[in-house]
């Protein structure tokens, strides 16, 4: 092991935070589609799949755009890992929580 660490941590930070943003976006879209009928209809990109088609497609778009923007901004930078890691865990946590049915169904209008 003679190689020394030389690359900045920015690209890793961008990949991690973007994955968190994508996860959180999926959770937010899931909750919004349950809460507002209009959003649910908007998410229906392909009728046989229903709103899931839009929730997942839009979350992937948010993830890729976030990754591109953050990578461009941080690719040559050393960023605070504590901040990046905390933010990543919080965002991934939001994604896990908001895709849990007992949570997102709380926002659904009563039938």
């Amino acid at each position: 092991m003679t190689e020394r660490a030389e690359k900045p941590n920015g690209p890793a930070a961008a990949a991690f935070v973007a994955a968190g943003i994508g996860s959180a976006a999926l959770g937010v879209f899931t909750m919004l589609a349950e809460t507002f009928e209009g959003v649910g209809s908007l998410m229906e990109l392909y009728a046989p799949v229903g709103p899931l088609s839009g929730k997942t497609t839009f979350a992937m778009v948010v993830w890729l755009v976030a990754w591109g923007v953050l990578h461009a901004a941080w690719r040559n930078k050393e960023v605070s890992w504590k901040m990046v890691w905390t933010l990543t865990l919080v965002l991934v946590g939001v994604g896990f929580v908001l895709t849990f049915p007992p949570v997102f169904l709380v926002f659904a209008p009563e039938e």
Partner: protein, 176 residues
């Protein structure tokens, strides 16, 4: 011994991709755990990193294939609406929800599975990218290696929840 097209897609989605995903996760996790400066020898390290890169990318690609096939192919006949008086065994969602004792498999199990599964490929792709980009340098940065292990495991947990409910739902109301 015959299988319909949708049975083949379901097997591919749940069993073939699932098995490869499990193998890739086990290999990737062992690789990440062992990528420590003090444990590595010069002779073996390049092969270790090559295997780790391949393993993490295989896991990410398989995770993508699983959610895409699951959502855009397998989910379509699962949620199809039955015509009046139809045999509900061909319409799993409606078969499950027609009986209060099985409705939970759809209302909780499928609702959770179909959403949480999509978190897995995003996390797996982030891990695969970082392993490819930093390679040997990960061994020099314990904080990065630890973070990769956590995200890799969370990716597996998300896929594991989806896979487990997929197996239970298929048992309760198989797609034929």
């Amino acid at each position: 011994m015959k299988m319909t097209a949708i049975e083949l897609w379901t097997a591919l989605h749940g069993m073939v991709f699932g098995a490869v995903f499990l193998l890739a996760f086990a290999g990737g996790l062992a690789g990440l755990y062992g990528l420590r400066r003090e444990w590595l020898t010069t002779a073996g390290i390049k092969d270790d990193v090559r295997r780790l890169t391949a393993g993490t990318w295989i896991m990410a690609i398989v995770a993508w294939l699983t959610v895409i096939v699951g959502t855009w192919i397998v989910y379509v006949p699962y949620r199809a609406e039955p015509p009046e008086g139809a045999d509900l065994t061909k319409y799993p969602k409606f078969k499950l929800t027609s009986d209060p004792s099985t409705a939970g498999w759809h209302e909780f199990g499928m609702e959770w599975k179909e959403h949480i599964a999509w978190i897995s490929p995003m996390l797996a792709t982030a891990v695969a990218f970082v392993v490819l980009y930093y390679g040997l340098e990960i061994a020099e940065r314990p904080y990065l290696r630890r973070a990769l292990i956590v995200l890799f495991t969370l990716s597996f947990v998300a896929a594991g929840i989806a896979g487990l409910f997929g197996a239970f739902i298929t048992k309760a109301a198989p797609l034929t």
